[in-house]
């Protein structure tokens, strides 16, 4: 089986029913996407496929169509993605375990909607659980990232 992950083609053998998350983590060595629930209820496993935010824990690897981007491939050319930069500036993460998923969801949101309202943010991010309660800083960071993106930083 062949997949393009973070711009690189990788080859592995897997049961096509295996969720993409476990193929990435156990077979491709991509531990950026996290396992939280396995039932698409927490968002920790979020990756992009063709630019869309997808829960990799419930998507069989055999059904993946398109290039996969994980948190590890989000920064381009040695520069943090504006969402990552905003996360750093706002000091969002606590334990950090949910944050790969949060950042991937936020990046997809800003791709689709460069200037989201509070309600847009709530709607787009509601599937991403954070047990540490970092939501207020997530909101601030998304606004900041939107500004960074618009300014082309």
């Amino acid at each position: 089986m062949r997949l393009i992950v973070d711009g690189k083609s990788i080859e592995f053998e897997a049961d096509p029913e295996m969720p993409l998350l476990w193929a990435l983590r156990d077979l491709a060595g991509k531990t950026g996407p996290k396992f939280g629930c396995g039932i698409a209820a927490c968002g920790a496993c979020t990756v992009h496929i063709g630019g869309e935010a997808v829960r990799s824990c419930t998507l069989p690897v055999g059904q993946v169509e398109g290039e996969v981007t994980t948190i590890e491939g989000l920064a381009a050319g040695g520069k943090l993605h504006p969402v990552q930069q905003a996360w750093l500036d706002e000091q969002v993460a606590q334990c950090g375990y949910c944050q790969a998923g949060q950042i991937m969801s936020a990046a997809a949101l800003l791709e689709a909607n460069p200037d989201p309202t509070d309600q847009d943010i709530d709607e787009a991010m509601n599937g991403n659980l954070c047990r540490c309660g970092t939501y207020p800083r997530i909101r601030a960071a998304i606004k900041k990232a939107a500004a960074l993106k618009t300014a082309g930083i």
Partner: protein, 758 residues
């Protein structure tokens, strides 16, 4: 009053747990300082000065922050203590957790294990604190919990930095042939301003390490602090925004196998009948191993990938024995009710004369209420996991845990090797909240590693396994009775709390041969030690053993005592026609730190000013882990249900070392408490937990998250903790707001059983 000796003999349970630990590990050298565990693992040319500081010739400065980083920012805060005195910027230091070692004992973890409220500074209270802290030292109890890391490290870590700086300067003086007094330090270098010459710390590190550290060091005055007292960028933030492999679940080792566990859904029950044949034949399955531990019985699955292990776990066909404990919610409630009715228990607070105060109380002056809360799971974002390798008689374990020395001990017992043949690597924790002070996930990985032919095995639990095999926040019930005076203030308050003993349950798992003795102070923690002056005030705790494993859940007993006590204070205010904030001002007048947080939060929220219709507020105050916290919650009625709009928090922690981290922890603690109060409960049917994943055990989502306004005060005399103190006042402030809005006094959690939340 009891003598110190008598109190020691009463063996408060936390002490008992510690002493049990001591007997079991056989370590009892009171006065001997521990060896520096870094000595054995230095890189070429690297020098160490004490267990907290290593410096390499290229000036790489490594600080050991030997507490579990689970989001509370402890790696940053502890490193800043060392860096401050070492006189280096925080971004110049590399921060590591370091090995499991007795040298990293946490004295503050046990210090408050006695029966005294945090504000009691009497000779006896201080003596017992010292004695319990000493127990921790003697046992080498390396643990992260009880919001204690900073209190424990505040002097120790600064002294470590100052002592290292002292010998580095001394070595530089010898090398440059000048007097120490002519040298100054900055950015990891020592400068002789007069001649313009300078050397880096790295250049003199090995010479400095050979110099005896000074007998005493002078620490900087607070006014000279460069890092402390100011928000610092977290040392782990970059790793966390780039998806770096820092968590236990991210460990990858050569030749690694993967695994999971399927433990009995009835606690401590054994398999009556099992058929492994189907599971064993599944593709990718390497081996299925029966597990028998003090945490429970079941099976471990070793496979070529985690998915295969999960599939095989499901395919194991097994009938489990019946539960040997009350097997459903009604039976559990009955145990608590019977305990309350028993007239037994121990009073950790008894001021005045309760019986006389109630004897002639007129009916209309009495306020009475009964409260109850359910079991709760921790639901850390990172499911339980650990990775272990057993090779050539040595067990290496990578574990996201809060108790490295205990992990080492129980894993060595499980595998049957000496303790010094176990190496524990503590990774970052994807949430801890007390759950990762347990050893089950590490022990299971160790047992599977023993069957893996020398290959490492990463053992990851499913979320279902994690929710169904927690060490739960215990269910609890409280009976409250107050007698009001003419002024509406309470003249007498009598409280009975029944709950399973967390410490008794912990001992059963960790030291099954030792039977618990003495009262468990966690049962009434948050009720027996609150700064209220009420002339007749009695708080009785009754241990009601149920048999379901219970453990330390963020803020422990304070999580439900805060809810009970502060909702009842609201009931007293209503009955006595006193404003809830005014009630606190009057009853807490003797504790200025308490009054100041109450005043501040009231001012921030403009308490007392009229609100638009459909909105209301609730107030609560708690003192837990040395943190004085007042919270106000505002709720609004919306077509979709109640919405928590805003939360104001004022907290006093004595010295606020990193306001950015403290603010984050206060918000985090409140969200944790609100999540539970709104909708969480673990229920039991047929001896098994009914919930299994986030669809039926959810937490607050971003759309439900209120806006926060936080103030941090520094009036308290003693330094307090931070990680747990935002949690206890959150539930009562919310329930009191719901009462103010709807007139419904809800005395059981979660509130969602009676009101809907948007």
């Amino acid at each position: 009053m009891a003598s110190v000796g008598k109190i020691a003999r009463r063996t408060f349970l936390i002490g008992a747990a510690a002493v049990a630990g001591g007997v079991a590990v056989g370590y009892w050298y009171v006065s001997r300082p521990y060896a520096n565990p870094l000595e054995g693992e230095l890189a070429e040319g690297e020098a160490t000065f004490n267990p907290y500081v290593k410096i390499a010739p290229d000036n790489t400065i490594t600080v050991i922050a030997p507490r579990a980083e689970m989001g509370q920012g402890i790696a940053t805060a502890l490193a800043a203590l060392v860096a401050e005195e070492l006189d280096v910027p925080l971004d110049m230091v590399k921060v590591e957790h370091g090995p499991a070692s007795f040298a990293y004992y946490n004295a503050a973890l046990l210090e408050e294990g006695g029966p005294f409220p945090f504000y009691d500074r009497s000779l006896m209270a201080e003596t017992v604190r010292g004695a319990l802290g000493g127990v921790s030292k003697v046992l080498g109890f390396q643990g992260t919990g009880g919001s204690s890391s900073i209190r424990d490290g505040f002097d120790k870590m600064r002294q470590a930095g100052a002592a290292a700086r002292h010998v580095l300067v001394e070595a530089a003086a010898r090398k440059l042939g000048v007097a120490v007094s002519e040298l100054s330090t900055a950015d990891g270098a020592i400068e002789h301003k007069a001649s313009g010459r300078s050397v880096t710390y790295g250049q003199v590190a090995s010479a400095a390490a050979a110099i005896d550290p000074p007998a005493t060091v002078r620490l900087k005055d607070k006014a000279d602090w460069k890092l402390l007292g100011k928000a610092q960028p977290r040392v782990d933030m970059l790793a966390k925004v780039t998806g770096a492999p820092i968590f236990g679940i991210d460990v990858i080792l050569p030749e690694m196998l993967f695994g999971t566990v399927k433990m009995s859904p009835r606690f401590w029950a054994k398999p009556a009948k099992a058929d492994l044949s189907k599971a064993e034949k599944m593709p990718g399955v390497v081996k299925i191993v029966p597990l028998e531990t003090t945490y429970g019985h079941g099976f471990g699955i070793i496979a070529e990938n985690t998915w295969a292990a999960f599939q095989a776990a499901e395919a194991i066909e097994v009938e489990w024995d019946a539960a040997e404990y009350p097997a459903d919610g009604a039976a559990i409630s009955r145990v608590l009710a019977d305990a309350l009715a028993s007239g037994e228990g121990s009073a950790l607070r008894h001021d005045g004369d309760i019986d006389t105060a109630f004897a002639d109380a007129p009916r209309e002056r009495l306020v009475e209420a009964a409260y109850e809360v359910p079991y709760l799971a921790h639901a850390c974002m990172e499911p339980m996991n650990a990775t272990a390798q057993f090779k050539d008689g040595v067990l290496e374990i990578w574990s996201p845990n809060q108790m490295p020395t205990m992990t080492r001990y129980l894993c060595s017992e499980a595998v049957g090797i000496e303790r010094d043949k176990v190496d524990v690597h503590t990774t970052h924790l994807g949430g801890g909240f007390g759950r990762r002070g347990e050893m089950d996930f590490s022990v299971y990985a160790a047992l599977l590693a023993k069957e893996a032919g020398g290959r490492p095995v990463k053992v990851t639990w499913t979320r279902e396994e994690d929710i169904r095999h927690d060490t739960y926040r215990p269910a609890a019930a409280g009976r409250f009775q107050a007698r009001l005076g003419d002024d509406g203030l309470p003249e007498a308050l009598d409280i009975h709390i029944a709950s399973p003993s967390v410490i008794g349950s912990t001992l059963r798992r960790m030291f099954p041969s030792i039977s618990p003795l003495g009262p468990d102070r966690t049962i009434t923690d948050g009720s027996h030690n609150q700064p209220y002056a009420i002339p007749n005030y009695r708080v009785t705790g009754i241990a009601a053993d149920v048999g379901i494993p219970v453990g330390f859940w963020r803020s422990v007993g304070n999580s439900y005592n805060g809810f009970f006590h502060e909702c009842f204070m609201d009931e007293i205010a209503t009955a006595g026609r006193t404003d809830p904030v005014e009630l606190r001002r009057k009853l807490m007048a003797g504790w200025p730190a308490a009054v100041k947080v109450v005043d501040r939060v009231a001012a921030m929220a403009k308490w007392g000013e009229p609100l638009p219709s459909g909105r209301a507020r609730g107030f609560a105050f708690t003192l837990s882990f040395g943190g004085w916290v007042a919270e106000i919650v505002q709720v609004a009625d919306t077509p979709y249900g109640l919405r928590i709009e805003k939360v104001w928090i004022a907290a006093d922690v004595g010295i606020a070392l990193d306001p950015g981290i403290i603010e984050a922890q206060l918000v985090s603690g409140a969200v944790f408490g609100l999540s539970a109060a709104m909708g969480q409960e673990i229920t039991i049917a047929d001896g098994m937990v009914e919930q299994s994943n986030f669809h039926d055990f959810d937490a607050m989502r971003i759309s439900q998250c209120p806006a926060f306004e936080v103030a941090i005060l520094e009036n308290a005399e003693r330094m307090g903790g931070v990680g747990e103190i935002g949690t206890p006042p959150a539930a009562p402030a919310l329930a009191n707001a719901v009462f103010a809005l709807t007139g419904k006094r809800i005395r059981t959690l979660p509130l969602s059983k009676e009101v809907a939340f948007a």
